[in-house]
Symmetry: C2
Subunit: 194 residues, 2 copies
DNA sequence: TTATTTTGATTGAACGTTCAATCAAAAAAA
DNA sequence: TTTTTTTGATTGAACGTTCAATCAAAATAA
């Protein structure tokens, strides 16, 4: 039989090559031949592991989402109070892996593409709902219902906005500053004195 | 001799058709033949008015940026206090035109594409800097320097994040709610009593 | 062990499609 | 007329998909 465990390895290699290709040449120029060459393989291999290009792209977006989920769950498990859980979500979104330029390029490309690709749209929606749900649950233990919902929606939007700015604009805004701004926003809801 | 005024008209028609095509079939499927057919013209017309496809795309993104700028300037001119100027920026970004589904699809597509297309990247950067500069200037008249910078960066990120969320999630977050959340954030900086 | 069989992994090329760009000619306006 | 506008056909390149053929490794049998 073929080498054991090769399937998972190849799939991960092709997904990584897809992210790299999207970052370096743009979504439109991330062709099967370029992606597979980038992974050191032949063009036909994509059909073997992902059926077609759409399958590879969907798998890549799912992989990005899972990385963020893993990071979030890891930190949530270590959190004990609602305040710590909110901070865990902030820290997960501003972790080193999530702010890698290639990751950001890929996320952006998939966001745009999802608007006219139902398969990708579903993945995006699941992610979005999870972030909001995590924040909502924690805020509800600290604030009245309507204030909690506002804080959760505001923080979710702010995290995404800060995250984008960090990655898109080289220089002006660092990850450390972004974390600070997000935490400050939370503090303005939780501290009556400030 | 030349049909009077036809050039500007055709350019605007082709740009509008480009935005519609991107929204309806995605950036990758917005081909010259589909765009021109969408505008009720022949394929060759694009070369005549924009040289090539890249020229049409750059002109389309510039047109989107100018629409936002016009909207912002209009509201800034009517504002008299720093508070009103901050609100003007918020209102401009959440105006009806800027949240039209076609406009959002196009912005998102260009945003993603700009990462690997220098010509588009420059347009994006100018826009970004203008938003931050407008906010920074207003906040500096109301807050100490370091707090003003934090408020400006935070609000800029939040506006982008909320705008993105309105665009990506059909339903949960409305433009009205987004406006409310952004204004609440500003109030938390300006009102010592809250 | 050693030889054989089985299975999946991988390639590279062929196929049909689609694209952007080009251009000669027609249509329209001045 | 002269100039601009507009068309629609053409071209060559690049794309995604498909597939027969080859290869390497594992499983099986002796």
């Amino acid at each position: 039989m073929p080498k054991v465990g090769i399937e998972d390895l190849r799939r991960r290699q092709l997904i990584a090559a897809t992210i790299t290709s999207i970052h370096e040449e743009g979504f439109a120029n991330a062709t099967i031949s370029r992606i597979s060459k980038n992974a050191g393989m032949s063009g036909g291999i994509v059909a073997h592991y992902f059926d077609d290009k759409a399958g590879l792209l969907a798998a890549t977006m799912r992989s990005l989402a899972q990385d963020l989920l893993r990071e979030t769950v890891k930190r949530l498990k270590a959190a004990e109070t609602p305040e710590e859980r909110i901070d865990a979500v902030i820290l997960a979104n501003f972790s080193v892996e999530q702010n890698d330029p290639e990751t950001v390029s890929a996320w952006l490309a998939f966001w745009a593409e999802a608007r006219s690709a139902p398969a990708l749209w579903r993945i995006q929606k699941i992610n979005e709902r999870r972030l909001l749900s995590n924040l909502c649950h924690a805020f509800r233990q600290l604030l009245p219902e309507d204030e909690a919902r506002m804080a959760a929606a505001g923080l979710a939007a702010m995290i995404e906005g800060l995250w984008l700015r960090c990655a898109l604009s080289h220089g002006p805004l660092t990850i450390d500053q972004a974390r600070l701004i997000a935490r400050d926003y939370v503090a303005r809801f939780l501290n009556t004195s400030a």
